[in-house]
Point group: C2
Chain length 310, copies 2
């Protein structure tokens, strides 16, 4: 019997412009870490890390234990686990924080009790938690945090997805100091869209997939524009357009909102210097009256079992 | 000076399910053939082949001469050409008939006078003709007929497209005996669509691109479904759903309307027998009271200069 398991799950960027609820990219950094040990019920022994004060310690409301509980149900095990949570991904920044915690929880439960859940089942367990917390069923972040790389959600019921390995790139993420809970970010969405805008998004999203497969970062960046969801959400973020423009001027190949925001990310050639883009994005947020944390990362692997003690 | 040039341009299937105005696939057969020789103005010396009685012989209304005239304008040549047109692609069947003629016309003009137009310019000249004839600017068919293979239109203004080589496959095309002018097929389209349907189409279209790149025909077929445009147009085609179901039951991997219809096409594994699917589609159209022409083809090359006489 395993006495404890430590799992990390990465942050992720959803949508990438035109791929609302369809695209997501796993990041190399930051990650959430969950150390879990067997227990008869679901227990949270501690939460630390940036933003952890915003996260519920009630196991029926916490992403780690919600997803772990769902995974245990799928495994047919009437058991729980004790979770020690170390947040690396700040919540409400649009970086898939709750999704990463959920993935780590589902994977820890599966590993602890040798449940043999498939990758798709782990994703479904994590998505169940996301539905409870964010209020809507969407698979993008949790799938990327599970599989790593770039994912395309092909259908929701049943869940079908494709993972592809994106070409090397640098990512600059600028996360302004304002919260943007996903639930609120979804409430303001339009119920319908002009056909012409839907067509444009289909065109851009399809082009991004081809460009990622071809390793053509310029073309990825060029098509990383959303005409449907981002403009609505952008109106809530001070100087969002200014941040975009500044990053592009400083050499970014493409810029978009990360998930429901408020974080904004830019893609860069892997060989290029990121300092200018970092500075440009930080300064532009400042002109909008917001401090921000800006960091450089790259595409990353999915959730990983770091250690399991027997 | 070239005394005459013969150009062929292939039929094409637009949309492929979720990619309205974005996806198109060039076919190996049928093709239109244009033999052109220098002239001071635009002249049509003859049109033959299936459905040629429906095509205008007035150079200001014919796809070949409209596109050739536009190409000459782009080349800055105040000249014309004499065109002898051999239609292989029946008009109003949703197989890019006017688009293929336009591509052949633009390419013939360029070849005759050594204009050096780029591929993108040839496509733009052909699309100009399509706008005049079909009443709306769409690049899908003309791009596929120009480049061959599978194309993704990434943006309209400016025109950006990606061509990819699809994996080997068989295509069964069933073309019922009813006309469906593209112009009418566009008039009935919805002005707006539910966000959820737009998302589903983005998901499917993106998945198709990944699947084509991966050579995964099963996944192409699975996602070859449109929730936006095809259902509206399908209501005008007797037993459309029956044709689809019959083809799938007979072993097709995916079935969709070709362009604005009424033709329906199915994709099959390249090694599989197509007879059962052909029979099933023909029989299903008959149950809807329609005779049909059913043929087997495969993805093909773009427009080709067959001969140029000095």
């Amino acid at each position: 019997m395993i006495s404890s398991v430590t799992v990390t799950a990465p942050a992720s960027i959803a949508n990438l412009g035109p791929g609302f609820d369809v695209f997501a990219l796993a990041l190399h950094q930051p990650v959430d870490t969950v150390k879990a040990s067997p227990a008869g019920e679901l227990v949270i022994s501690g939460i630390e890390g940036p933003g952890s004060e915003k996260i519920s310690k009630d196991p029926s409301k916490n992403a780690v234990t919600l997803a772990a509980g769902r995974a245990l149900e799928m495994m047919g095990k009437d058991l729980g686990l004790r979770a020690e949570i170390k947040k690396g991904i700040e919540p409400e920044r649009g970086l898939g924080s709750s999704g990463a915690s959920a993935v780590a929880g589902a994977m820890a439960a599966n590993e602890l009790y040798g449940g043999g859940l498939s990758e798709t089942q782990l994703i479904e367990a994590a998505a169940f938690s996301e539905e409870r917390i964010a209020g809507s069923l969407h698979y993008d972040n949790v799938t990327a945090s599970t599989t790593g790389g770039f994912v395309i959600i092909g259908s929701f019921q049943p869940l079908r997805y494709t993972k592809l390995d994106p070409p090397p790139m640098k990512l600059v993420v600028a996360s302004p100091e304002m919260g943007a809970p996903t639930k609120k970010g979804r409430e303001i969405l339009p119920k319908s869209v002009p056909l012409q805008k839907a067509v444009i998004n289909i065109a851009r999203a399809s082009s991004i997939v081809a460009a990622l497969k071809d390793g053509d970062l310029d073309m990825v960046g060029e098509h990383m524009i959303d005409s449907i969801v981002e403009p609505v959400r952008a109106s809530k973020i001070p100087n969002f357009e200014g941040v975009k423009e500044a990053a592009l001027k400083a050499g970014a190949l493409g810029v978009a909102m990360s998930g429901a925001g408020p974080s904004v990310f830019a893609i860069l050639d892997p060989e290029s210097e990121a300092e200018g883009v970092k500075r440009a994005m930080k300064d532009a947020f400042e002109r909008g009256g917001l401090g921000s944390e800006v960091f450089v990362t790259k595409p990353g692997l999915g959730a990983t079992i770091k250690s399991a003690e027997g």
